[in-house]
């Protein structure tokens, strides 16, 4: 019977191709709008390191002056997202975390050994040693450096896979030399493919849509090389004044990201007390004028505080579904018109012995076919729309970049993966059924004799 109903559905769609095309088109546009919104939302809403949900925490301290929030502050209720050098140093002294990393992004000039290749700039992360262990960063060659090399600082470097490819053709470069800002560094590690999405450990500037840095060197090079931050630096006190690199180390200006890993929840609570006690002690010296508002937050909370999945994303998602709803209503109207125009045939089928349920099922099969066809067209429109968005939103990110990871990142943001595709198919079916349920029911309820004379 289902095969029979399917044949009837296809025949019915062919009978009125323009109306059928309008219905399929309406569903397709609705599906495309909602799927684009879902895809973008889905790309941002993933958990970048779920296996450490209960262990990994970002730390922030509220060092701000006790003044009314400034108009540009999106979330005045949160403390600044970064730490001052002084505070980071103080927290780093704690033995409560099993791992801790203070870090920031800078930039250096790389001078390749091959003289035919011009020196070029590269994003550099200056970090303490635990970074690699704490974030489970994968290596293809070697490993990170020791804590001792943080302070020395050791002239060692970890390269991204891309940078190793660029400088050494992808070969095992452990022990080889890389010249950064004219100073030689020994390669101790090369990362495997690693692209946390979003780039949660540093959400400055990019909002998380960026690839990891290509070069990692010990944090101590910050002072030795006087390497300024390439991320945000915000002074949170009116008294603070930046006059060259050294003032960054003493003034109440935040520019360092700080992450910790705990063994268990109790350690997290102990560390919160430790941070609060530190703030209390500093308050005695005229800092931390506000009440304690220090946060030790897990990754998902951190992403939420940073609005990685912000109101805009949520609004886009809601609008996508509202648009789909409008399309469903339009399709419902079209289906009702189509089914009623074919009511005499349904009346005839009832006269010939079809039960109400036979008529309803036959029409439901038709709406499911319409839904699936609309879904197929909708997915094509979605792919086209995502390709357009890729150009529209990320062209500047891809410009002047020879890093394939960056291309892969953008691709992943506008990519429909299997769960999203499955959602699209389910949504198509649901849309078809929602749009067709009432018309199918209505046509099934008609008395058989109603339209026989007009058939």
């Amino acid at each position: 019977m289902l095969v029979h109903d399917l044949r009837l559905a296809l025949r019915s769609l062919r009978r009125n191709p323009i109306l059928s095309a309008l219905m399929i088109g309406a569903i397709a546009v609705g599906i495309a709008a909602s799927m684009i919104a879902i895809t973008l939302y889905h790309a941002r809403s993933g958990h970048p390191i779920p296996w450490k949900s209960d262990k990994l925490f970002a730390v922030t301290l509220d060092t701000r002056d006790d003044e009314p929030p400034q108009s540009f502050e999106r979330h005045p209720e949160y403390p600044p997202f970064q730490l001052t050098y002084r505070d980071a140093r103080a927290l780093y002294a704690s033995k409560i975390p099993v791992h801790a990393a203070m870090m920031y992004m800078s930039g250096q000039v790389v001078t390749p050994a091959n003289k035919s290749v011009k020196p070029f700039g590269a994003a550099t992360r200056l970090t303490t040693a635990d970074f690699f262990t704490m974030f489970d960063v994968p290596f293809i060659y070697g490993t990170g450096w020791s804590r001792a090399e943080d302070e020395a600082p050791g002239a060692v470097v970890v390269l991204s896979k891309f940078m190793n490819q660029k400088l050494f053709g992808g070969a095992n470069s452990i022990g080889r030399e890389v010249v950064l800002d004219g100073r030689p560094y020994r390669v101790v590690g090369v990362l495997a493919a690693w692209m946390p999405r979003p780039k949660y450990y540093d959400l400055n500037n990019s909002g998380g849509i960026d690839v990891p840095e290509d070069i990692f060197i010990p944090f101590g090079w910050m002072r030795t090389g006087k390497l300024m931050s390439h991320g945000n630096t915000n002074c949170v006190s009116r008294r603070a004044k930046i006059e060259g690199f050294d003032s960054l180390l003493t003034q109440d200006c935040v520019w360092l990201q700080y992450w910790v890993e705990f063994r268990n929840g109790a350690d997290r609570d102990r560390f919160q007390v430790f941070a609060d006690n530190y703030a209390n002690a500093e308050r005695e010296h005229g800092r931390f004028p506000r009440k304690n508002n220090n946060r030790v937050v897990d990754v998902q909370t951190w992403l939420s505080m940073y609005d990685v999945i912000g109101d805009d994303s949520r609004m886009q998602l809601v609008l996508g579904f509202v648009f789909l709803g409008v399309c469903v209503l339009n399709t419902l109207g079209l289906m009702l018109a189509k089914f009623l125009s074919a009511a005499p045939i349904s009346g005839l089928r009832r006269a010939l012995g079809a039960r109400r349920i036979d008529i309803i099922r036959q029409h439901l099969i038709e709406v499911i076919v319409v839904g699936l066809l609309g879904g197929a067209v909708g997915m094509t429109l979605t792919l086209g729309g995502l390709a357009y968005l890729k150009v529209l939103l990320f062209s500047s990110m891809l410009a002047h970049s020879d890093n394939p990871d960056r291309v892969a990142l953008v691709q992943s943001l506008v990519h429909m993966d299997i769960p999203v595709m499955a959602a699209a198919i389910m949504l198509s079916l649901l849309t078809g059924v929602l749009a067709g349920l009432y018309p199918a029911y209505r046509i099934g309820r008609l008395a058989p004799a109603t339209f026989l004379k007009t058939q």
């Binding site: 029979h4 045939i345 006269a351 012995g353 109400r356 349920i357 026989l452």
Partner: protein
Amino acid sequence: MIQMQNVSKIFRTDVVETHALRDLTLKVEAGEFVAITGHSGSGKTTFLNVAGLLEEFNGGRYTFDGQDVSRLTDNQRSRIRNEKIGFIFQGFNLIPDLNMYHNVEAPLHYRGMPGPERHRRITAALDRVGLSTRTKHIPSQLSGGQQQRAAIARAICGDPRVILADEPTGNLDTTMSSQIMELLLQINATGTTILMVTHNPELAQRAHRQFHIVDGRIDQIHQFRPLQSPQAVASHGL
């Protein structure tokens, strides 16, 4: 076969109430050919719709093939329509985008009949009405007479007890009408009961009896020829 006792049918709207059938009482024997006549609006088609279980009635008692149909569910009514009643309409009521084969097949689908059995019945029915060479034609490719014959094939392929024909020759010329009438008489001769609404007195006179309806009631009954016994009908079959 069909027995109605004081059956009434009222159509109601917000402002008007129309009594289409008023205490209609009649009895049609199995194997009988009955012509239903009457002026437009007299209630002929309503009677046929009620008789064919296409419409509910408001009062009275209706027994079809020995079964009181007033309390049947919609599914039970559908089943009776499918298995015991064949319909023929003035406008042929063929499904426009189905060929003759699939048009005739339609009621058999709802009976859940296996494919080979369906095929046997369809070819036999189309052969019987002389359309075995037109199975692939869609309705618009056939003449009115051919379409009505296809509709008759659809009505008889399920081997019904009763055929209800609503002005089956109304859209046909005299020659074609005569052919259709002959076909119906042949079908009736095999024992199938036929109730035929018609405006044509000559055709009506070829039935066993004629019921003339006025204002929803049987006004006159004419007997034109006696109904043969079931045994005689069986031996007279095609």
